[in-house]
């Protein structure tokens, strides 16, 4: 479809507005991170002097940011691996097997996503205090399964459904058991879908804040998102914005890189749940 010239111009203008809307605040975060601390409140679009000083400040001893990144990696990684291990089988059953209450089970699993984190948190906080799990990784990983597992079962079910059933059936006619058909046919075919689910689950777990904030009161166990929000300045009012923006860039850029590289798959994953 080739439109007239004014239509083309209008369309590009529209795209520019959308891209600007999405990118401008992020650009501002990046630019603020690269300013020198003494120019921090300078509102020029491009910093007069570029500097890495804010990034050095992020890793300075007081913040313990390296440890926080590691904590985030452990918590989000464990959540993702556990979720996929458990969720893949359930999703396969929901996509392929026919049994009573199938829709009820799927509905139940979807319904748990509407569950507010806080009503899960209060009893678990009390329980974990009693069994002395506060300031442990499992205290953050287990509650995270509550939102990660329904999400991944939901996505994986959608992906498994898209695979042609005939292939599996042909394998079973040729003498494979259901387990073999699953291992040799479904898993390799579903790998892209599983991978997408892994990315989406990891991002959701990485971005988690409420659980990580509540289950931990020791600095060494904080995840990155919590640690950044607690970076301290001289007084409450004097927030170290430059350092926080630099830390924000460090936490966000790897995610954005992954998201851009696997853009198509992620869009497919996000829409598989909602559309169709």
């Amino acid at each position: 479809m080739t439109g007239s010239l004014p239509r083309r111009v209008l369309s590009y203008l529209g795209l520019a507005v959308v891209a600007g809307y999405c990118l401008a605040p992020f650009y501002w975060m990046a630019v603020s991170a690269f300013r020198r601390p003494q120019d921090q409140f300078d509102n020029s679009i491009v910093p007069a002097r570029w500097s890495w000083e804010n990034f050095h400040a992020v890793f300075s001893g007081d913040n313990g940011f390296g440890r926080a990144l590691l904590n985030s990696l452990v918590v989000a990684g464990c959540t993702t691996v556990l979720t996929l291990l458990i969720g893949t089988f359930t999703a396969y059953a929901l996509a392929r097997l026919d049994f009573r209450f199938k829709n009820a089970v799927l509905g139940l699993i979807v319904a748990t996503t509407m569950f507010p984190g806080i009503s899960q948190l209060v009893p678990l906080l009390k329980l974990f205090t009693d069994i002395e799990w506060i300031n442990t990784y499992q205290a953050m990983v287990l509650p995270s399964l509550g939102f990660a597992l329904p999400l991944s079962v939901w996505l994986l079910t959608a992906f498994f459904r898209q695979l042609p059933y005939e292939l599996e059936q042909a394998a079973m006619v040729d003498g494979c058991t259901r387990g073999q058909a699953f291992r040799k046919i479904i898993i390799p075919l579903a790998a892209p879908g599983v991978f997408t689910t892994a990315i989406l689950t990891f991002i959701a777990a990485w971005n988690e804040f409420l659980i990580a904030l509540s289950m931990v009161n020791k600095k060494e166990m904080q995840t990155a998102t919590v640690a950044i929000s607690k970076f301290t300045g001289v007084s409450g009012f004097d927030q170290p914005f430059g350092t926080q923006m630099a830390a924000g860039v460090i936490v966000t850029v790897p995610l954005i890189a992954v998201v851009l590289v696997f853009q198509r798959r992620i869009v497919a994953g996000l829409t598989a749940g909602g559309v169709k």
Binding site: T2, A19, P25, N103, V122, G146, N207, T225
Partner: protein, 341 residues
């Protein structure tokens, strides 16, 4: 016919050709396999969600000993107080705080979801019309989505500083992060920025599945662009949009990170129900925290129920499509009933 797996004729034929006895055994085996495969997930969900719901409700009926003793230590021991935690929430100063948080939560939900939907649909329409550069814009749309909410809270706090970027652009001094209506607006703006691209993405996927000849037919019949939008585009993306809006609503109703980081906890103007419950819990008043959480849970369940019932958001529509019956377009009768149908 329980052996029809996905309704395709080939599956039905082979199953029928197997003969009666193996088929029965297969059904038994399928049942056992299904139970085996489902149980880990259901077990985990029962532990991390089912147990907390029940324990939280029980907790909300209990209270700790009367606060602190003379030395400032929390007095040990719990006692059953019935619905006292609930009645306390609705009375006096705490009643005001509760209704304030309830109002804020509702206000945020309505304003952000309406704005997100309008902006998201507009974004999707712009991207749909694009000749080139759609890939770039789709990539940039994922950026706000990928930024952690807590980080975006900090980012917007920085933008909304008294001498920050927002005021420089507006050429007007607004104290965004002070307690007041402007703080609400700051939260709404930040939330809409982060999530409307997500709606845009889902709607775009819905738009791309509308066959082009529908529009051509409409154009031949003399429908203008506005009519095409209201009569064709909107009704056809409605199922996708409804599900997206429902998930967004449920998400905003439990909002915590953004107002907590952007403005701060215990600020009247932006305190949501989750924040008030969290504040109670962090002060070890578990009983009243659990009562707030239970109220929020019921509120969310009510909204979800009404949304599904009144607007017929078809959350697991795809699942039903795959079980024998063709998709019907009648309003659904509530969630639980619908899924067992």
């Amino acid at each position: 016919m329980t052996t029809t797996y996905d309704g395709t004729p080939s599956a039905a034929d082979t199953a029928a050709a197997d003969g009666a006895r193996p088929r029965r055994r297969d059904v038994q085996g399928t049942k056992r396999l299904a139970a085996l495969l489902l149980s880990p997930t259901l077990l985990v969900l029962a532990l991390v969600i089912g147990y907390p719901v029940l324990a939280g409700f029980r907790e909300s009926l209990y209270a700790r000993g009367e606060g602190l003793d003379a030395n400032g230590f929390v007095v040990q021991g719990e006692r059953f107080v019935g619905l006292d935690n609930y009645t306390a929430i609705f009375h006096g100063d705490r009643g005001d705080a509760f209704w304030n948080a309830f109002g804020n939560t509702t206000f945020f939900t309505v304003t952000t979801v309406v704005l997100e939907t309008v902006i998201g649909v507009a974004m999707a329409l712009i991207m749909q019309q694009a000749f080139r550069g759609r890939g770039f814009v789709r990539a940039s749309i994922l950026v706000p989505w990928a930024i952690p909410t807590a980080i975006s809270g900090l980012l917007w706090r920085w933008i909304f500083q008294a001498d920050g970027a927002a005021n420089a652009v507006l050429r007007h001094q607004v104290l965004w992060t002070a307690d007041g209506f402007q703080a609400k607006m700051a939260v709404v703006i930040a939330e809409v920025w982060k999530t409307s691209p997500f709606i845009g993405l889902l709607v775009l996927a819905g738009l791309q599945m509308i066959p082009r000849d529908v529009y051509e037919a409409a154009r031949v019949d003399g429908a203008g662009p506005v009519q095409q939008f209201w009569r064709i585009t909107l009704p056809l993306v409605k199922p996708a949009l409804l599900v997206a809006v429902l998930f967004r609503m449920l998400d905003v109703l439990r909002m915590f990170d953004l107002p907590a980081v952007l403005i701060g906890v215990n600020q009247k103007s932006v305190e949501t129900l989750t924040m008030i419950a969290w504040f109670e819990a962090s002060n070890l008043r578990y009983g009243s925290a659990a009562a707030y959480a239970t109220i929020l849970f019921l509120y969310i369940a009510l909204i979800a129920y009404l949304f599904v019932k009144l607007l017929g958001a078809d959350i697991i529509g795809e699942a039903r499509q795959h079980t024998k019956r063709p998709r019907r377009n009648r309003p659904v009768k509530g969630k639980r009933k619908k899924v067992t149908a």
